[in-house]
């Protein structure tokens, strides 16, 4: 994955706290596990039935029956536990996952996300996306600010189908961090190597500025 995605993962990881139970979506979000801040102990929940998934094993130590929800090999971290799929999603829906980090296709003006289906294509996969969105205590979106074609992903209304009615709590891109309140998006931070103007012109929905934000 590109340096940009690593950068986003690093920025997301700063929002994790000691003891957090985290669930990381496939792709970019999984990279967040590389950048957990020094001294902060988090626990990885993976929806195929495990809490306490540990770092990627050396190739010769891969156990083909120990995988995360992205079907990547993982290891057992200290204090791990296994459980069935129904128990795993009871845990998710019941609010026992502190933070879910999700990738998105789009985010709308209210912070609602689209990350599971593309209009016009057959709908053939949803996985745990909708459960994680409604269940996690905090939902952090980890995404590049623009699509590969250079189009803004933060838009007034999603053209892709929504994953649910619940808005994300935080949206982190390589350029900016937005929080979400009931009226919509609040710009909390502009990345050091970006500018307020760039963020403003590449975010296709109105947003407010946080009181804490220093607009240069």
């Amino acid at each position: 994955m590109s340096e940009v995605t690593h950068d986003i993962a690093r920025r997301v990881a700063q929002h994790l706290g000691p003891g957090d139970m985290i669930n990381l979506g496939i792709g970019l979000p999984t990279l967040v596990a590389d950048y957990v801040p020094e001294g902060v102990k988090v626990f990885l929940h993976t929806e195929n039935g495990m809490v306490g998934a540990g770092p990627t094993p050396e190739p010769e130590k891969v156990d083909p029956e120990l995988i995360n929800a992205g079907k990547l090999p993982v290891t057992e971290d200290v204090g791990a536990a296994y459980f069935s799929s129904s128990e795993s999603f009871a845990m998710i829906r019941g609010g026992h996952v502190s933070v879910a980090v999700l990738g998105v296709l789009q985010v709308d003006q209210l912070g609602r996300i689209a990350n599971w289906a593309i209009p016009g294509k057959p709908i053939l996969g949803v996985g745990g996306a909708m459960d994680l969105l409604v269940g996690a205590k905090t939902v952090i979106v980890a995404t590049t600010h623009l699509t590969r074609k250079g189009e803004p992903k933060i838009v007034e209304e999603c053209s892709f189908p929504l994953t649910g009615a619940r808005p994300a709590d935080l949206i982190v891109t390589e350029h900016a961090t937005f929080s979400v309140d009931q009226d919509g998006l609040v710009l909390e931070e502009v990345a050091p190597d970006s500018t307020y103007d760039w963020v403003r012109s590449h975010t296709h929905t109105p947003f407010r500025n946080s009181a804490a934000l220093e607009v240069v």
Binding site: D34, F43, V51, T56, E76, G79, A81
Partner: protein, 249 residues
């Protein structure tokens, strides 16, 4: 080949112990709290914390969610005699004459739920569900005024989830992270209640280091558990459940 994240950040950081004292556990219960209490009679009940609650001025006006109200004068039954319980939700109170008496005098409000519905409602509360349909109770006095729905030709009762402010449960072993295992039929409602309260306190016979429990054998994973307390009271050997103050047991 696609780059595989190393996820090295997962193995670092200091693990904080969830072990607290009985006194600290007791201080979590507030006047008017709804308290789930594990156990079938006294078996699998957090007897140490329950006894200590009698020393707290804040443990008053409680609503309990528990299969019974302990046994006469023991466990939750002792709190009942101490006038701490205002309302009891459970499935079987008949074995405790003190419940009968306080029900008659109006000091205690009781809500009776079939045992399976009680357990399922607690599970639903922990699983983020809005409710469920069960055949249990249809056509009985317990269904009076309740919503009945025909689903595929069968009648079901609608039941809502149960949650509590705090769950006081009993387990066999905890690691310092809060992973739990149980002991024989002392398991009963405890794993369900561990999922369904804002604060979950597990009283345990033995506390071990994180990593000492086999991940395949953990029954309640640690995300559910907020605090762990060392038990000081265990049931003694005998024909019927007896209390035996065994110290550090």
């Amino acid at each position: 080949m696609v780059e595989v994240p190393r996820m090295d950040g997962l193995s670092s950081g200091r693990i904080r112990s969830k072990v607290i004292s009985v006194e600290e556990a007791v201080a979590l219960v507030e006047p008017g709290s709804t308290v789930m209490v594990g156990g079938f009679g006294l078996v699998g009940s957090p007897l140490t914390i329950l006894d200590a609650l009698l020393t707290s001025e804040n443990a008053t006006d409680l609503t309990t969610i528990s299969n019974n109200v302990g046994e006469p004068g023991k466990g939750l039954g002792r709190l009942l005699l101490g006038g701490r319980i205002r309302r009891a939700i459970g499935s079987y109170f008949t074995s405790n004459p003190d419940v009968m008496e306080r029900h008659r005098s109006g000091e205690l409000v009781t809500s009776l739920v079939p045992q399976g519905t009680l357990a399922e409602a607690i599970r639903a509360g922990g699983a983020g569900l809005g409710g469920f349909y069960t055949k249990t109770g249809v056509g009985t006095d317990l269904a009076e005024g309740r919503e009945v729905r025909e689903i595929d030709g069968e009648s079901y009762l609608f039941e809502k989830p149960l949650r509590a402010d705090i769950a006081l449960i009993r387990a066999r072993k905890a690691d310092t992270l809060g992973n739990l295992t149980y002991y024989k039929t002392a398991r009963n409602f405890n794993p369900d209640m561990a999922t369904a309260a804002d604060i979950v306190v597990a009283e345990v016979d033995e506390i071990v280091e994180a990593g000492a429990l086999d991940p395949e054998h953990v029954v309640t994973p640690h995300p559910y558990v907020d605090y762990v307390v060392q038990a000081e009271i265990r049931l003694g050997k005998g024909d019927e459940p007896l209390l035996d103050r065994a110290g550090g047991g």
